[in-house]
């Protein structure tokens, strides 16, 4: 669609711009077939891929362990900190999709520890180790019948210790404290 289909309304200190609705081309006017369900098709396609998920999660756990090893060897630098955070952050986002939702909580706790610590050098490496070992253990033992229950207990303890550290470390930073204590805004499973 031509660019000159754009409309602009000018006000004192702002403009309202209505661009050409170029995506209208994809809105179908035909009624969908009764058995046509694109979401179900996509879920089925994802299911076909799911045989690889455990291997992928294993790779992500190994990546996390390597990032932890780099921190142990070299301490926290911008590079080692980012690598550890990114590995934990990816696990947090992928765990449920890969069929391991019980892992996400421990990964989220590690992300908070790294993100909200005022000085990475003050993060107890023991606490980092406990998170990484917990994530790997939960993955390794996921076939157990009580895996979810154990993961919840482990995660709860990690969160308690992490919160205690962050509340103390940020006691003079009220803005960060507010972030530490605030719940997620976006629904976790929207």
């Amino acid at each position: 669609m031509a660019k000159d289909d754009t409309l602009i309304q000018t006000f004192a200190d702002y403009e309202v711009i209505t661009p050409a609705h170029t995506l209208r081309k994809a809105i179908s006017t035909e009624a969908a077939a009764a058995d046509d369900d694109p979401v179900a098709r996509a879920e089925a396609a994802l299911q076909d891929l799911s045989s690889e998920f455990s291997i992928w999660m294993n790779g992500e756990c190994e990546r996390l362990a390597q990032a932890r090893a780099a921190v142990q060897r070299m301490g926290f630098s911008r590079r080692t900190k980012d690598a550890l955070f990114n590995a934990a952050h990816d696990i947090k986002g992928e765990a449920a999709t890969f069929g391991f939702p019980g892992i996400a909580g421990a990964a989220r706790s590690l992300c908070r520890l790294i993100e909200y610590a005022p000085d990475p050098a003050r993060i107890p490496l023991t606490l980092v180790d406990q998170h990484v070992d917990a994530i790997r253990a939960i993955y390794r033992e996921y076939a157990r019948s009580d895996a979810i229950e154990l993961a919840q207990k482990l995660t709860q303890r990690l969160v308690e210790v992490t919160d205690a550290f962050l509340l103390d470390a940020n006691k003079d930073r009220p803005d960060i404290l507010a972030l530490v204590m605030s719940p997620p805004l976006a629904p976790e499973n929207a």
């Binding site: 660019k3 000159d4 754009t6 409309l7 602009i8 309304q9 000018t10 006000f11 004192a12 200190d13 702002y14 403009e15 309202v16 711009i17 209505t18 661009p19 609705h21 170029t22 995506l23 081309k25 994809a26 809105i27 179908s28 035909e30 009624a31 969908a32 694109p38 979401v39 179900a40 098709r41 996509a42 879920e43 089925a44 396609a45 994802l46 891929l49 992928w56 992500e60 955070f85 990114n86 990816d90 947090k92 986002g93 992928e94 765990a95 449920a96 999709t97 890969f98 939702p101 996400a104 992300c111 972030l179 605030s182 997620p184 805004l185 976006a186 629904p187 976790e188 499973n189 929207a190």
Partner: protein
């Protein structure tokens, strides 16, 4: 619900995680999309945006070189590229309030917190395609209208000032920017 012909849309998926790119690609193909391009960081994502001219971008936040937020800010520059109005879905593991607000203020069209599901991704795409919001341009913001609904009993400060003026049908923004430059 509105039915979308996904095979008429061109997608660009930007994520440094190869597994997540494959998941999103799988879902998009499942919806019926044919044209799905990929990039693995913000810089190559910007290059792919210019090269492929996608209809929708699905981008991660945390990426090397520059992240999804910076990428969005670079795209939302009127006159700086072929389509500053492109629909951008931020798909991220971040779900904290300050992150959602920052993504909104950078100009993302939709925000989708991981874990991803077929239903949630489908809903965001349908919203972007069927119900595009007008863009707002101020001295500090250029992006989709952040007011998704009218609150009739709103009694806070009115940050937008000025009476309504004429509606104009301007020259293409790119030409306008060039003529000024």
């Amino acid at each position: 619900m509105v039915r979308i012909d996904f095979n008429k849309l061109r997608f660009l998926v930007i994520d440094d995680n190869t597994h997540m790119r494959r998941i999103v690609r799988t879902l998009l193909h499942g919806f019926g999309a044919r044209e799905v391009y990929e990039a693995e960081d913000g810089a190559s994502g910007l290059e792919a945006f210019t090269h492929y001219v996608p209809d929708l971008i699905i981008t991660d936040w945390v990426m090397p070189i520059f992240n999804g937020l910076e990428l969005t800010q670079m795209i939302r520059q009127p006159g700086a590229n072929a389509n500053p109005y492109v629909a951008i879905i931020m798909l991220t593991g971040h779900s904290e309030k300050n992150r959602v607000t920052a993504a909104r203020d950078a100009g993302v069209t939709e925000f989708l917190a991981k874990p991803i599901s077929a239903k949630s991704l489908y809903q965001r795409i349908v919203s972007a395609v069927a119900n595009p919001r007008p863009f707002i341009k101020t001295r500090t913001y250029f992006g989709p209208d952040r007011r998704r609904s009218t609150v009739h009993n709103y009694n806070g400060p009115e940050r937008r000032k000025g009476g309504k003026s004429d509606v104009i049908r301007p020259a293409p923004l790119l030409d306008k920017a060039r003529s000024i430059g």
